[in-house]
Symmetry: C2
Subunit: 169 residues, 2 copies
């Protein structure tokens, strides 16, 4: 598996990481969700080098996550806004923020609180099953190969049962 060919892997996680897995990309997208739209805005908010910022924006546009839209002629200027594909990254963002809220806060508490406009309350995001609505946990989920699975037999980690030697204390 090569980093530059992640998008060709038969794995939705690898493919997604091919899009958002580069250094700084998720932080750029955070800014997008906080309504930053312009080059200088991203640059000053993140302190990323201009070179890399230009690269990343170009890639995100190519991948259909952002759209580059002119907001001014003479001199020509553009701003970057999330497409629907980009907006759909929201659950990923929220999941990341929530994990940080739970596991990475210092004594002062959370940097940001989230208010759900529909119900007016401060909330946490919860991931649930689309079918029964119950919260998901790793051990309640079983994976099956889907139609787009890698065709042949796997040397995959699931089947491997390494032989045991002397047991540890």
């Amino acid at each position: 598996m090569k980093w530059d060919e992640l998008e060709d892997e038969p794995c939705s996680m690898a493919r997604t990481i091919g899009v958002i897995g580069d250094r700084w990309t998720l932080l750029i997208l955070r800014e997008c969700f906080l309504r930053t739209r312009r080059f200088e805005g991203f640059q000053s908010a993140l302190g990323i080098t201009r070179h890399l910022l230009a690269e990343r924006l170009k890639k995100l546009v190519r991948q259909g996550v952002l759209r580059r839209i002119p907001y001014q002629e003479a001199p020509k200027r553009h701003e970057y806004i999330l497409t629907q594909k980009g907006l759909d990254l929201y659950p990923i963002m929220m999941a990341i923020v929530h994990w940080g809220d739970v596991h990475m806060v210092d004594t002062r508490g959370r940097p940001l609180l989230h208010e759900h406009r529909s119900c007016g309350k401060m909330f946490d995001p919860v991931m649930v099953c689309s079918e029964c609505g119950e919260p998901l946990s790793a051990k309640d989920v079983h994976v099956h190969p889907g139609p787009g699975a890698r065709p042949s037999a796997e040397k995959g980690s699931l089947e491997k049962k390494p032989k045991v030697r002397k047991r540890a204390a």
Copy 2:
């Protein structure tokens, strides 16, 4: 903002990215959730260089996402298993996989299907509000500074209202 000091930022997303944002780390964690536990298992599943794999595993252990547990004496061998902190990354994983399932599939369809053992059905993960249970979307959420917010006034992207010039066509 420096990549090596992300964990000190007053931002839960930045802090989390400091933990899982390195190249290959999320793919290593994918393997963990698929029950890979050993060095060779990760290496052969991912094709990552042994050098980097060793680095990443060390960092994840340091950060409390994995625990390194001996499973054999003579020669001493260890395996890497998810801590609770690591298991709590599950919603992030699922959100990433789901986005790929929606936006990155080829004509053949999804590589993997997920079955919810509790209800027996194939499902998609849905992110909902902990307070009202409704699905979340970016525009229904408003952010407020929390107790751990950066103390002073922000040069943040939210307040900046750049002056407009000649409008684009």
